[in-house]
């Protein structure tokens, strides 16, 4: 093993597995965990659809049904949609920007462990009949101390704490990696659109998550130590919860959607064999979506009797956000139109599926943005149809396209095209059969979250049809699973660049070595691998006795200094365990926050405390900033 492989290798066995800092091992683990939660939440949806298949059905009682749809919504939103995008980004961004690791590997690992323990907690709690029962947005006073007995809503609030901290950590890691660790020459204008999308998403996470952090903290203190935030009789307010939740809630759905836009902007140009049309317009559109998404949360509250003039402002903002999304769609279509002949591989099939489904969701979204229509459509099955069209159509389809597209990079093997087509068509048809009838059910007056309905209501046939669609989706997910399992056992390895795409992630082997790039490439274009001469130059001289990578300046990606990355350590895993014990303990007694903080502090100090031997090696290669300054200036002339 060469020196670099030795430095970047993890310890063998379980201890090595738990203390790895490799963003690829943590990334794959993260993606697999989110997919397991996706499958579990999908099963809950299947049970709900079976219960709703017939009128006055007794498959599931009201109490269990309430837990089913609450855990389905909570798991899909907090344990699948947001984390899977971050997991894919944490795997791909270092490869796409041309660096050897994420900015804060230990923090990244801690973020994953916390997410895993939070997710396991939710499903264990659901299995123990303590699952949340007031829906994924858990309106007060139903989720408050008087109307939700026991610990159910408390576990919901704690799950929010787990998944937020993990998402915020992911956001900080993504922003720092994308801004400070790009390959030399990759200026902001040459950054891949997926990286742009993830940076925009990360900023949305940073400014949206605190709102739900506060809301869930206020809820848990209301329930456990009798604060009065949501008690209308003591100065509290039930709408305070809705404002705080939806100020986070709407950016949340764009946090799920914007990464998917990034994925499409990576997949589609590869199959159109040309750069995306209007790169600058696309970036501005992403940023516009981020800003606008913070200005339209009240459209979830149109029916609470707020003053109509105020609501018209939010109607305008809700309708306006269709513009940047529209621009992205037009630019993609223009890219397809001006590219070479398109070859229909499975990733492109899923992107085309996105167009067909998401645009319907977008248009029904405009309808829901209008206050008058929203007064009829809000909280009916029309909304259930809309949210699935924009979430499954808008995020899950591009995500599956991304799986088929980046699967060879993650595992070194191609997914089978034939199974891919079966997976796509079953998913596409099953989805539309399941969710389009829900538009009509909503218009026929079927409200959301009803565990049953009477035969006289006339909703039976469409519900039965919808259940058939749901079963088809389940079958297509099975096909995907089989495809993954079979492909993993294939012998032949995928080439470095199977789709001969243009991104830097395809410049290294499949799967990439622990250090990603033996020599960090220098780029001078937005599509490096499609240039005649790649790489323009190579970075050499990075010390190999420690894990090092290059830190570059934000605006022009000129080399700035060498970063020494932390070595593998088990402390993040232990810190996550201690934090989990503290969070779950605080559901049963507030003193757990005090006593639980001691082990958390100890593990964090252990995580931070520098190792003697490693510090010695660090001192051996240390170059103080003043001495290195001259060297930096010299380099910059060479490059410019």
């Amino acid at each position: 093993m060469s020196q670099i492989e030795q430095t970047w290798a993890d310890a063998p066995g379980l201890k090595g597995w738990l203390s790895t800092m490799d963003h690829k091992r943590v990334g794959v683990r993260f993606v697999v965990t989110t997919l397991v939660f996706f499958a579990l939440a999908g099963l809950l949806a299947a049970v709900m659809r079976l219960q709703l298949a017939r009128a006055d059905n007794h498959l599931v009682g009201p109490d269990l049904y309430n837990q089913l749809f609450s855990v389905h919504g909570t798991a899909m939103m907090f344990l699948f949609a947001v984390p899977v995008m971050e997991a894919v980004a944490l795997y791909l961004i270092p490869l796409m920007v041309g660096t050897r690791a994420v900015a804060f590997p230990r923090l990244n690992a801690y973020g994953y462990w916390l997410f895993l323990f939070g997710g396991v907690m939710l499903f264990v709690v659901f299995a123990l009949n303590i699952g949340p029962e007031a829906g994924w947005f858990n309106y007060v006073p139903l989720s408050g101390p008087e109307f939700s007995a026991g610990k159910r809503s408390d576990f919901w609030a704690q799950l929010i704490t787990f998944t937020e901290v993990s998402a915020l950590i992911g956001a900080i890691v993504i922003i720092t990696t994308a801004f400070k660790m790009r390959a030399p020459g990759m200026t902001l204008a040459r950054m891949p659109l997926f990286v742009w999308a993830m940076v925009v998403t990360a900023f949305m996470i940073v400014f949206a998550m605190p709102s739900v952090m506060l809301a869930s903290t206020f809820l848990i203190t209301d329930r456990l130590i009798s604060t009065q935030f949501y008690n209308p009789a003591e100065g509290g307010d039930v709408l305070l919860w809705q404002h705080l939740f939806w100020f986070f809630g709407h950016p949340e759905v764009y946090i799920i959607f914007v990464p998917a836009l990034g994925m499409i902007s990576e997949i589609l140009p590869t199959f159109a064999r040309r750069r995306v049309v209007g790169y600058a317009a696309m970036v501005i559109a992403l940023v516009a979506i981020a800003f606008l998404s913070f200005g339209l949360w009240v459209h979830h509250m149109f029916t609470t009797g707020l003053p109509p003039l105020g609501m018209s402002f939010f109607t305008a903002a809700s309708i306006m956000i269709a513009l940047p999304t529209g621009l992205q769609i037009f630019c993609w279509i223009a890219t397809l139109a001006t590219g070479k002949r398109v070859q229909f591989a499975t990733p492109l099939l899923f992107v085309i599926g996105f167009f067909f489904i998401f645009i319907i969701g977008g248009l029904t979204g405009v309808m829901l943005g209008a206050t008058t229509l929203d007064s009829q459509l809000h909280d009916s099955y029309f909304v259930v149809a809309h949210l699935h069209y924009v979430l499954i159509g808008g995020a899950v389809f591009p995500l599956f396209g991304g799986f088929y597209y980046w699967f060879p990079k993650l595992t070194g093997r191609m997914l089978s095209e034939r199974a891919g087509r079966w997976n796509f068509w079953l998913f596409f048809i099953g989805f539309n059969v399941a969710f389009f009838p829900m538009h009509i059910l909503g218009l026929q007056g079927m409200p959301r979250r009803v565990y049953t309905y009477s035969a006289a209501s006339g909703w039976e046939n469409l519900n039965l049809l919808s259940t058939v669609g749901a079963v088809t989706i389940a079958v297509s997910m099975l096909v995907f699973l089989v495809n993954v399992v079979v492909s993993m056992r294939r012998r032949e390895r995928a080439p470095d660049n199977p789709w001969n795409a243009s991104g830097l992630e395809w410049a290294t082997s499949c799967p990439p070595p622990a250090y990603n790039f033996m020599a960090i490439p220098v780029v001078n274009s937005r599509t490096p691998l499609w240039e005649k001469e790649f790489p323009v130059a190579e970075v050499t001289g990075l010390p190999e006795i420690l894990r090092t990578t290059l830190v570059t300046r934000l605006h022009d990606a000129e080399p700035d200094h060498v970063a020494i990355l932390p070595s593998p350590s088990i402390w993040p895993f232990l810190a996550a365990l201690a934090t989990t014990v503290m969070f779950i303990g605080s559901v049963f007694t507030p003193w757990a926050m005090v006593w639980g903080a001691v082990p958390v502090a100890i593990t964090l100090i252990g995580w931070f405390w520098p190792d003697k031997e490693e510090t010695a090696r660090m001192l051996s290669i240390e170059v103080k900033p003043p001495e290195g300054e001259a060297r930096v200036e010299a380099l910059r002339e060479v490059l410019s």
Binding site: G305, G326, A370
Partner: protein, 305 residues
């Protein structure tokens, strides 16, 4: 069907239905055009040149913003029409509870205030202003045939105007998840001709009729002697519980248990004997009445027209 958004039975809901069809029309056209361009882009032989493509994108964005502005304005004007405050409306106070609707007609004289539950009878052609509040959790009053929904919030009084153009039964449903029996919390809005409405209103003001035969009399004694009296109120008797629906004219109602069962003798008896079988989780407890007492009680209640 009498609970459909697209089968309006009042000026307000037809305004919304009309606007809905406009939005659907525009959306359908936009969808077909965009998908048309997509399919063309996928199937074409030669490459379109980049210059025209970029211009096409900016034109498309321009058209999109014009369409969106148009839709936004159409909604704004429709909103102004619907939000216009009616003149001299019939005022009714609706209080939502966990899983039933308490209705009280606000009349100038307190003695003329009718109290009923789960059923709202209104005269046709006259605007009705509902003052909505909730006693426990958030509910939402939604009768699709007549108007959009409005939430009932603890600590707030929200307003909703209804107008029925023609007589008929218009079913509604609670639209905000409110617990175990959110699915069985529906309400009937029955529009009557003005004279028939005032006849019904005066009948509602009267106290409960005296039991006509010994079986009904025994039924009343069972009512007064068992658990019913703790929660329910019957005008003209000393049962004055206020936590359950008012039963003074329960026999005249179209459906029982907030729209769960049609109002028949068998359903009434079944509901009283074991409400949890019909609505698991409802706040009404099962009673341990013997068959004979139950029959007498049901007879007595069926006379409360």
């Amino acid at each position: 069907m009498n609970h459909e958004v697209l089968a309006p039975a009042g000026p307000l809901s037809s305004q919304i239905a009309q606007l809905f069809w406009i939005f659907v029309g525009v959306a359908a056209v936009v969808y077909l055009v965009v998908i048309g361009f997509l399919v063309a882009a996928l199937r074409r032989r030669n490459e379109a040149n980049a210059r025209t493509a970029v211009r096409a994108v900016s034109v498309a964005v321009g058209i999109t913003s014009v369409i969106l502005l148009g839709l936004g304005l159409s909604d704004f004007f429709a909103q102004r029409v619907i939000a216009a405050t009616p003149k001299d409306p019939l005022r009714v106070r609706v209080t939502a509870h966990q899983w039933w609707w308490e209705i009280e007609y606000s009349d100038g004289q307190p003695s003329r205030r009718v109290r009923t539950a789960n059923e709202l009878r209104i005269p046709t052609q006259r605007p009705v202003e509902l003052e909505l509040t909730a006693d426990d959790v958030i509910h939402s009053f939604w009768v699709p045939s007549l108007q959009g929904k409005k939430d009932l919030l603890p600590g707030y009084t929200t307003r909703l105007d209804l107008v029925a153009s023609r007589p008929g039964v218009y079913e509604g449903q609670c639209a905000e998840f409110c617990g175990f029996q959110h699915a069985h919390m529906s309400i009937d809005v029955i529009a009557l001709d003005p004279e028939e409405y005032s006849r019904w209103y005066d009948a509602q003001l009267a106290s409960a009729p005296e039991p006509s035969d010994p079986v009904a009399l025994h039924g009343r004694e069972v009512f007064m002697g068992s658990t019913c009296v703790m929660c329910h109120n019957i005008q003209g008797t000393d049962a004055s519980g206020s936590v359950g629906p008012d039963l003074t004219h329960v026999a005249g109602r179209r459906r029982l248990a907030a729209g769960t069962l049609p109002n028949t003798l068998v359903n009434l008896a079944g509901w009283i004997r074991d409400p949890q079988a019909v609505k698991p989780g409802t706040r009404m407890p099962a009673t341990q009445l013997s068959g004979e007492d139950l029959a007498a009680l049901t007879t007595y209640l069926s006379e409360l027209r």
